[in-house]
Amino acid sequence: MTGETNLSQTTTAGSFSGAGLACRRGGRLVFTGLNFKLTAGGALVLRGPNGSGKTTLLRVMAGLTPSAAGTMSWNDKVIDDPDAHARNLRLITHLDAIKPALTVSENLSFWMTLWNKPDDQRLQKALQAFDLSRLASYPARLLSAGQRHRLALARLLVAPAPLWLLDEPGNALDTASRDALARAILAHRAAGGMVIVASHEATFVSDGETLDLGLFTPKTVVHWSDDESVEAAE
């Protein structure tokens, strides 16, 4: 497991924070007035009952979904270029972006090339970390649910990025794979990386801060096109 520290080393150690964030989905304020701050090596666990907005918040943090109010900052500078911000992060959701016709290693090396540069040794280590080495030449269509999810997780290790956003990363994983994930997270944080995890289960970060989205219920219901009421609700 010594290799993993190497895999996760991040080029920009930094801080990531949000202030006064609000988000509307389907005409309803999912959360509002939300603040968070994360520094190098830190971890944040998103908790809350189903529908409390964990997935939504992760997509806001990734810059995919625009927030209705508030700002996010990277190294204390407000994020205004979503593309630049995107290069600092990896997002893992339940959509696994795996092509069934390509083999396991082809799938992985595509993302590696896209994000960084081809590096076969690194690829092998990433496969190893999630016990996929012996499946490397398998077409991905043959994988089971858990194996697919492990392949998605292996993407975290093929190119360095300081911020990991993980949406229920334990889904479908067996015990050995859960341990592998926990180790990968530890190594990433040890190298100065940051991790945000949304999960219902025993978490993969023991010492992280917790952000409970359940506290935002009962939600303020506002008219979807009325910007002022968002401000008012904050």
Partner: protein, 246 residues
């Protein structure tokens, strides 16, 4: 039935047949082609172009026969889940498509001197073209799935659906054609003599044995490919056993 479904059994029979089929195909081509293309009498009306007939007509007959063989194999596969029947159907399809293409190309080349055009929308031509599309559809569907086993089942169903349609097409296209344009193929039929029948049958025989020989080669290589796939799988499974960690 299950005896025959066993690939080992099947290959034993096929291997015994193969030298005969290949040999006969070669012999018949060697004797048939010169007779068909050189020594047979020229037609008093069409001249030497009549020789295309010896390539064209057997190809048309083969194309149809192979379609029925393919449908029969597919039916056996769907009903009794015979993997070997499916292999035969799958191996036949490209051959059928090839013979259909040969029939079409020879026909078009013949049409130019005979009718002054490469193509007319005649009943026979049209139904041949449609059969060609059925072959293409079968091949494309079988290849379109991530999971090859799904492709096998889906294309087998398609082959059966297509066989229902072939007579309908033949009938309906005739009906359509009589509205617009008389059939064009009756003129040579009457002066088909013994001199013409000999090369015709030689070529038909050559095509048939050629089909049989290639069929055996294709089935054999499919089986080998499956063996190689499985060898790779077993390697992977072996590793899995060695690694109790998972």
């Amino acid at each position: 039935m299950h005896r025959f479904a066993n690939p080992t059994q099947f290959m034993r029979i096929a291997n015994a047949i193969f030298p005969w089929a290949a040999g006969l195909a070669v012999v018949l081509f060697v004797f048939g082609l010169p007779i068909a293309l050189i020594t047979s009498p020229a037609d008093y009306q069409q001249g030497d172009t009549v020789r295309i007939l010896y390539l064209h007509v057997p190809a048309a007959i083969m194309a149809e026969l192979i379609y029925y063989a393919m449908a029969a194999g597919s039916a056996a596969f769907l009903i009794w889940r015979h993997p070997m029947a499916n292999l035969v159907a799958k191996a036949s399809a490209p051959m059928g498509a090839m013979f259909t293409a040969l029939c079409l190309i020879c026909g078009m080349l013949w049409g130019e001197p005979m009718w002054g055009t490469f193509w007319v929308w005649d009943a026979r031509l049209t139904s041949t073209l449609i059969m060609f599309f059925f072959y293409l559809g079968y091949l494309a569907l079988g290849d379109a799935f991530e999971d090859p086993e799904r492709g096998d089942r889906a294309s087998a169903i398609l082959a059966l659906v297509g066989v229902v349609n072939v007579p309908i097409i033949k009938f309906s296209v005739n009906w359509w054609n009589t509205l617009h344009q008389p059939a064009s193929l009756s003129l040579t039929k009457s002066n088909m003599t013994g001199d013409m029948l000999l090369p015709l049958f030689l070529m038909l025989g050559a095509y048939s044995f050629f089909y049989l020989a290639v069929l055996i080669i294709r089935v054999r290589s499919e089986l080998l490919a499956a063996k190689i796939r499985n060898a790779r799988m077993s390697q992977i499974a072996g590793h899995e056993a060695a690694q109790p960690a998972e």
